[in-house]
Structure formats: C-alpha cells, structure tokens
Symmetry: C2
Subunit: 311 residues, 2 copies
C-alpha cells in the first residue's frame, strides 16, 4: 500500500461521498487547552464514515462480481453503508441481521433498498447465513473493518483532514473493529510529517489496548459500553497496521464518554454518536499531553436514537 | 432605513459575530419537494442570532453611554447575547432575571460576566427593576425585539443568506417578539427581487397571525408551546415593518413543531431549538405551496436542554 493507491481510492469514491467539513470551537479549545479540528463524518451520507469503505469495496469488484451482489452481516452503520453504496452503484445488497435487531436499523437498510436476511442472534448464525448467501448467490462478502479495500476507503477521512490542515500534531480516532484507526494511520503515515496517531477506546472493551501490549489479537468478555459502535474486535488485516503505525491507545471510562458527548452536543450544536465522543474524552483525560497541540479529531458518525440518550 | 444603513450595520458587527454556514440536505429536499437552504444561526456565538442585534445595539451607543453600561430583562438567549456582546466591547451588562429562572440560563449569563439582578417573576417586576437600574446607573435599556438597532442587527442573517444564495423564492423565519422576522423582511425587501417573506408561528401563541388580520398588536392569553422562544408579543417598532413587508404567516400545531425538530436533528445531525423548527414545520404543512421553490429557512438558535427534549 502506497500513496498512489490511496490517492486513487480517494478519487474513485469521491462521486459517492460528501467531502465533510472540519469544524472548530473556541469554547472547546479553551476548555481543552489544545487547538481542535473536528472532522465531521456525522455529516457523511447515511450518517457515518462507513460509507467510504463500503463504496470503495464495491467499486473494487469486477463487473461480473458486481452482478452477483454483495453480502455483509452487520446491524450497525456498515449495513446501511453497504446498502446505500450498492444502491448507488446498481448492485444488489444482502444484509444479514439478527431477528431481534432494532426496527430503526432495519428501516435504515430498507430505505436504501438493501435486502434483509434474518438469522439468530449469535455470531455463528450470522457467519453461517452470510456464507450461505455467498455460496447460493455468488455474492461478494464485505467485512465492516477487516478488509483492505474498506480500510483504504476509511483512509480518505484523514486524507481530507490533512489536506485542509496539513500541520496537525496528532490525529485521534476511536477504536472498535480497527478499520477506522488503521485507515487513519495509513493516511497519516503517507501524507503527514511529525504527526502522531492516537486511538481512543472504552475501558469496558479495551481489547485493542491489550492487543498492543500482548502482540496478539485479544478479545472482550463483556460489552458494557455506551459506545455501541466500538464493541467489535480487531482483525488480521487491520491489526498489523495498528501495531506498526498507531502510537498509543488511551482508555476512557463510561462517564467520561458521556460527558464528552454532551459537551460536543451542547457547545458545537452537532449530533454525534457515543462512539465518536471517545477520542475527545481521551484528550480531555490527558490535557497536559495535548496542551497547545494542533489536534485532529475524527467524529465518526451521528446515527443515534434521539429518544434514548445517555444523558 | 435604507440599503446603506443595513450594509453599515453588517460591517460594524462583523468582528463580533460568526458568518454562519448555509447547509443543505438532499433527504429533506426529497421529503419536502422544495430546495432548502438552512441558515444555521444555531452555530452563532452564544448559540443564537440574538448576538447580532445585541452587538449592533451596543455598538450604536456613544462612548459616554457605553461607560454607564446596558440593561435588559430576559431569561432567554438575549440575556446571554447582551452579556457576551457587552463583554467583548468592555461594557458593563445588567441582566434582570426572575428569581425562578433556570440555573442553566443564569450560568450562561455568568459565563459572559453579565451581572444578574433577580426580581419577582412578573412582567411588572421585571420592567420596574430594569427601570430602576436605568435610573440609578444611567444604563441604556436594550429590548430583545422591539428596538431599531436590534432589528437591523437581525437583518444581517438574511443579508448573508442572500449573499450566498441570491435567487431564493422565499425566506422563512419564526415569529416570536417579531424582531427576527422584521429584520429578515427589511433585508429581503432591500437585497432580493421576487422573494417572499413568510413567518412560522405556533398555533398556541398566534398573536402575530391575529395582529396581521386585525391591524393592531394582539396578545396571547396562554403560552402552551414547546417553542419557548416564541412566547413573546410584537412591539410598536417591528409590527409596522411586519405589516408592510411580511407576505404571510403560517401557523403550526405542537406535534408538527416537534416532528419537524426531530427530522432536522436526525437527518441533518444538528441541534436546533424547538422555536427554530417552526418555519420548517410550516413548510412541511404546506408542501404544495413551496413545491420546487428555492426556500431559505432561518434556524434561529441551538440552545436547548439536551436532558429535557420534547421527543
């Protein structure tokens, strides 16, 4: 993977995504002691950065592959991203979802004409069902975070951010399945100088933090975090990138996540998911480390149930 | 009042305010059948358009007047706007507030170093207390909506909107005390051609709608609306402007306001006050009238208690 590959990816997906704005806030700068640049993927199409990886993954398929469709198992933003990207490209999308997935998630997929295939609510059932569709339909499987083309698509978030603000000292991103932070790290490695990459992770699901220490992919036993987008594990495609190019992972407590989320809502007047608040919470927890630094913060998405907020 | 006056106002307040962005949304365009341009005063300093009128009113005072300070009675956004504008201009601000005003509103004023003077929670007590401060301190009284310099400051919202999008067919604004819609109407009259001005008003406090019919300033007997910024009455300075230059007022029900607010939160991922949702609710209620039109919608502010939402 080199610069040219990433530049080609960025050009390729450009017609299918928004170039999202980078917002600043004097109030939050004063509060944090750093100069903050928020990359607003909550304003991305379908409300999250996932659109970028999904679009790139589908665009990288051959015509023949596209005719047979794509399949993923996800009950979150990636399901909507694949549905929308597939719809825009005239490709059939099969979305494997647990029977008990919230209606609002199912409706999101239906809006973009994704075909929902219901299964039992276990990882085994999901994988088996997706595999069945691959075999029966010849559909290409898309993974939300552990696939090269998805990771490269994600890189375009930080590429745009660095185009707008080339002299950042640090870029912060949340860590869930590892796809966003890996893409971010590749972008920073290729397009910035003297810029660190730091991940934010909930203490309750600190598998990535522990993986960095042990040198192998660790898992979580429980998933008690409000940051519902970060409950997944690293994979064999993104972990080596994270090991190589991510400088550090900062863990935060649940109340710190909720407080950071509320601050962004109240001060910036924008809606972000709890997962997005994790990197900002990490910065607030370590103010000294970031003091007077130029810090890019990736706000990964804004799909949240406004009738069921954590504050 | 002519073009040159408004242009001078715009230049004068420019160092003290944000030029706020105009956002669009394909989803809401599709939903409404119109082409919508949202002028985001929820991103304004202190979170509302009120900063513009407050800044202009203080800037129009003489040096001698500024030394004696300013006074207003408000428990809403104007109190914060006067405090912040006064702070920036090195002027003392006295804010008369009812004893039982929410702590969050008091804290907002204190953040900007406004001095709170508490009084009983009646209009009479507020006016008497403000008058006492005028007499004792020689402070200049600033009215939230019924003062020429405040109205002219408000005009700059639509002036900016029309600079960005000169060919709008309609501009929609909410009607409360009448200061924003009057300022908007002056701007559209002076800087647009073939562009209508339409107000949105809650059915529960439809004093402006009734005033337009009767030709005199009507009042409300009850104030049962979620749009807390729109519970005030028109005044003798803004009503003649509204009569002359506002084409129409559309009234909306409470559930329509809440639904419109939720749509903007969920689809645009931005935080707006209930009052802001009123013009969009008016448009959704009258889709045929706005079909295929280019419609500017003023989102007046974003100061809302995120722990106490109407949905």
């Amino acid at each position: 993977m080199n610069k040219e590959t990433l530049i080609a990816v960025k050009e390729r997906i450009q017609p299918y995504i928004h170039r999202t704005p980078v917002l600043t806030s004097q109030l939050l700068d004063d509060l944090s002691g750093a100069k903050l640049f928020f990359k607003c993927e909550n304003f991305q199409k379908m409300g999250a950065f996932k659109m970028r990886g999904a679009a790139n993954a589908i665009l990288s398929l051959s015509d023949e592959e596209r005719q047979k469709g794509v399949v993923t198992h996800s009950s979150g933003n990636f399901a909507q991203a694949v549905s929308l990207a597939a719809q825009k490209l005239g490709v059939k999308a099969y979305i494997v979802m647990p029977k008990n997935a919230p209606q609002v998630k199912k409706d999101g997929v239906k809006t973009y004409e994704g075909e929902i295939i219901e299964c039992e609510s276990t990882p085994q059932a999901r994988e088996a069902t997706a595999e069945k569709i691959q075999n029966e339909k010849g559909a290409s499987f898309l993974h939300p975070s552990n696939q090269d083309e998805v990771i490269y698509g994600n890189s375009t978030v930080a590429m745009e951010l660095l185009e707008d603000h080339p002299d950042l000292d640090v870029v912060l991103a949340p860590i869930g399945g590892g796809g966003l932070i890996a893409g971010t790290a590749l972008a920073v490695h290729n397009f910035a100088t003297n810029c660190k990459v730091i991940g934010g992770e909930p203490m309750e699901v600190d598998d990535a933090y522990r993986s960095m220490i042990s040198g192998k992919i660790e898992t979580n036993k429980t998933f008690n975090t409000v940051a519902d987008g970060l409950r997944t594990h690293l994979g064999d495609r993104n972990f080596p990138i994270i090991q190589k190019y991510v400088d550090k992972i900062i863990r935060v407590e649940e109340d710190e996540i909720i407080q950071a989320m509320q601050l962004i809502w109240e001060r910036m007047k924008i809606i972000i998911e709890p997962s997005c608040a994790v990197p900002f919470a990490a910065l607030l927890k370590n103010k000294e480390e970031f003091k007077n630094k130029k810090v890019g913060i990736i706000l990964s998405g804004g799909n949240v149930d406004v009738k069921n907020l954590p504050f």
